[in-house]
Amino acid sequence: MEDDKKRTKEDTWKSEELRKHLRASQPGSQNEDQKHKEKKLHKEKSVHDTGTHKHEHRDRGKSKDRMRERFKSSERDRDKMRERERGKEHHREGGQERHKDKHRESSLQKERYSIPKDKDRDSNRERDRMHTRHEMKQTDIQNNLKLFEGKDKEHHRRRESRHHFEEEKIRSEERERRRHTEKKDDGGKKSIDKLLAYQVDESEHVHKLQEDQELDKERERRHREKKEHSARPGKERSHKHYEKDWEEKYKSKRSEMRSSHGDREGQPAEANERLKSRENERKKRDLESSGYKKEDKIQEEMSHQHVSRTVKDNGKLIEKEEKDTNQEDKKDTSIYNSDMGSDNFSANYEDDFEDYEDDFDDDDEGNSDEEGDAEENPREIPLSRTSEIEEIQRAISAENDRVGTSLPKKTENEKEKPTMERQYPSVRNSFCGILMDFQMANQRQSSRIMASKQKKRCSELLPLIDLDFSVSFPLLDLPPVNEYDMYIRNYGKMNTKQAYVQCNEDNLERDIQTEEVETLEKWTQHPGEGALVSGGSMDSQDMPANGTLTPKIDSQRLANFLQSACQVIAVLLEEDQVATEPGWKLRSQQTSLSISDSCFQLNTNQPFLHARRISCLCGSQVQRQTLLSVHGLPEKAGVDLLNRKSIICVWNIWQPSSPQKVLICDSEVVCCCFSPSKTPLVFAGTVDGSLLVWDLREDSRMHPHVMMSENDWAFRVPTFSTDGILNSVNHTSPILAVEPVSTSLYTDHNYGLSSLSYQEEMSVPPFQIASMDENGILNMWVVVELQKVDLAGSQTDLGLIPGGKVKLVHSSTMQLSNSLFPKDVRQRLPQTLVVKFLPSNPNHFIVGTNIGLVGHGTRDDFKVFPKLFRPQESGLRSISINAIDFSPFGKPLFLVGCSDGSIRLHQMTSEHPLMQWNDSTNGQAIIALQWALTRPAVFFVLDASSNIYIWDLLENDLLPVAKQTFPSENIVSMTLLGEPEKTNGLLGIVLAKESGQIDIQYIKKKWALPQPDESEKLHLVLLQAL
């Protein structure tokens, strides 16, 4: 036995080494384990030799294969089979226990059935369900097992209390191992389980082989071979063969099982049926192999013993295992599955498993035996053998541990990926040579428990929890930085940023081809408020010229121009007005007078002229269109201002609607005259003996204004008055005549006037005014124009109006009555009435007296010839000379009109007249007498009875050629207006009526138009008259 044992041991080790790479160490080690057990049992058997029948039966199922292997004798195998058969039969007689075992068997079968099912199923759920179902079915089994185990334990305890120290040791060892397995080493249990399964499978496999006839034949052949091989230790080979066979067989069986699994629920019954059939088959086989059985009966028994022990142990383990959760079951099954799919020896497991089933059939007795005899077994072990047993048990435990180390890993792997069983073998391979580490194993055990718990929890919770895919969280989005920023960041200054780049792009030049327009600003102001009336920007080149030009403008001249222009315009407007107002007497009005072609009236219908007699008319010798009319004091009080004043109106016959200017003075004006120059001066002598001067150039604002009938009249007061001053030389009696004395005026008559007209208007040529009063005093006055105007009034010139410019300076005084007349005439106290200066020589003057004589004198008192101009009839008569008129054509002729109606024509060189007409007016006094201005031989005479006579000496030197009578009204004054310089023949006769009207009659052309050589003819006529 000892030799056998050793040899086998060696063999197994050797075989393990050989198979190291082919398969995992597990089966080998298990085999070894089994061998050990067997050895032990053999020893026990040999020593005690007490194997009861029951004992044999119990162990038979398990041990037979090992025995067969160990002793390498197929015959013995056959014997064993036979014996088992016998045992079975024996057992069948047993009652309750067997039944129990059957139950267990069926449950195991079911378990086995479930394995392929699990394999087939993919879903865990279903598997779980399956397991639960399985579990439920197993519960009673478990209970039984527990009972079983409890008994077993009890029996162990009893043994412990009662018996050997050695056995105690073994027990403790076993317990220790059990503890290991219980605590952590699922794998260990599993491995044992597998081991059992393996054993059972193997045994069953044998039966199975026998089941199929074809296979049986093969098997028989193999057995024969085995027999041949039995002498040598070629156990492995045979074993291999077995394995192969078993695998094949298993496969076939597997399919069978699968088909059976399809029925699912009807499994138990079917399984039972099958079990029965198998048993029947087995009986047959047993019969066949009965021959072998007999030979190895003892050994068989020994093996039985051994197996019984192992079965007992394993059974305990199984119980423990089954106490574990069905999860572990599941694991186991999965392991099986993996085993099946992967390797040859996995098939062994399956085979073992099947055998196991068979074993249980056999174990009916064994289990029952266990109840009774399990306690005896340990007792039978002798003390001397304890060390050996110890050794063996240690080895077993070590092996278990080793298996345990590998298995947990597997399970863990499986937990993680239960469907990937394929990986498992390689993993298991890797654990071949690992050292045993209990600590690690402990840890693994615990962790696996934990994992299993967690997994359970997981599976429970998973349906409750919804896992979902979250949206993707952006953790960082760092955009790429452009090159420039990077550059700035690396090389530029920190915290600065380049904001602007200057390039020369905007440096452009622009040009315009067109020339710029020259512009100049100018301004002007009218009326100019200063010397500067226009201007503009000074930057222009023209400006200096303008600046100098502007002051050069002659405002004086402009004013004069405007004045005259205004007059012209006023005249034109007046004519228009006349044409449109038919109610007013027009110039074109047809006259009833035979001497005139047409006539018109000056509008004397002015408020200030009402009820004033016209005392005097006077025409200007320079400005032929102007006329003075002297209006006397009104008969009743009128306007306050003009109440005690006489008025002189200055007319322009071209504007008959209103007087040009109105002059007033405090005393009654007797005589008046214009200045001999162009200067508009009016001189007047009053009854008070004062001489007055009006300067018509004066601004009207200097004079009082009166609003009359919607017109603003300026009543000019005299510019200069001799009244109250110069009392030593001034006239003390009324001034009868005022005559301008002009030295150059009539020197050359024809050209003198024209030259005068060109005289400078503003510069007053020096001229004198002569005034003569009733007492025969002739005063000569020099008209002086002041250069400087004193608005405040002059201190020295007391008669000057403030702001006036013209004054009279007394020149000389002549006492005419003493110097002119001889003594005889002087006795008659002649009274001077009229004075006239010779136009050609202003130094000579003639004075008309009231005795019919005309004195002749000079200003410088030279003796002149003739001293007196006498009428044709001698003797002194009191005939007052009313009118004297010098011929306007430069001839030294003058006409004298006398109050007796006689008219005399004198020449300066003779004392007596050239002609004298005494009764031409029928004794009526001559009021006015005047030469025609356009014809040298024609003169006009007005008598007191308002008759106008026209004399044309060339036509008739005895009688007037025409006589015009104004029966309705008295003509108080008459003067002539005409322009001798022109040949248009216009000659107007101005008649002042007593009513105050002034008529202007245009004389018919036959008396007005000059005739050729009229002066010579007149000269001839005058010569004839001499």
Partner: protein
């Protein structure tokens, strides 16, 4: 770079949801991360040799800090990425398969002139 958090043994309770106080709060976690990053990376220049060590230490620090926050039954995963600032564009994202009711994450970015650091902390609840 990655670091697994504590593997607290879950008690045998059947609470499927964390209490409100124990819930993983993104804002507080973010603050924690921010504070740590500010403290650790204030004046750090990017030196390639030092970065692995720095990232691991950072992740450890943050993980430990988060454990102190008392998110019970949470598994913390802290990911730290440090990269150099060279102007290149970087885009990072995460996607999770989890129970959005209980699990959450927080992340924070720290940048200075030479480096950027992205820390993402994920909390997964143990049922």
């Amino acid at each position: 770079m990655g670091e697994l958090g504590s593997d607290d043994a879950a008690g045998n309770t059947y609470s499927l949801r964390p209490s409100l106080q124990r819930r993983f709060k993104s804002s507080t976690v973010k603050e924690c991360i921010h504070a740590i990053l500010k403290e650790k990376l204030a004046n750090v220049q990017y030196i390639p040799e030092d970065m692995p060590q720095l990232t691991t230490s950072l992740s450890e620090t943050i993980k430990d800090r988060l454990k102190e926050e008392g998110f019970d039954r949470y598994k913390m995963v802290v990911q730290v990425v440090i990269g150099e600032q060279r102007g290149e564009g970087v885009n990072m994202g995460a996607r999770c398969f989890w129970d959005a009711d209980t699990d959450s994450y927080a992340h924070d970015v720290f940048m200075n002139d030479s480096l950027f650091c992205v820390v993402a902390a994920f909390g997964c609840y143990y049922y």
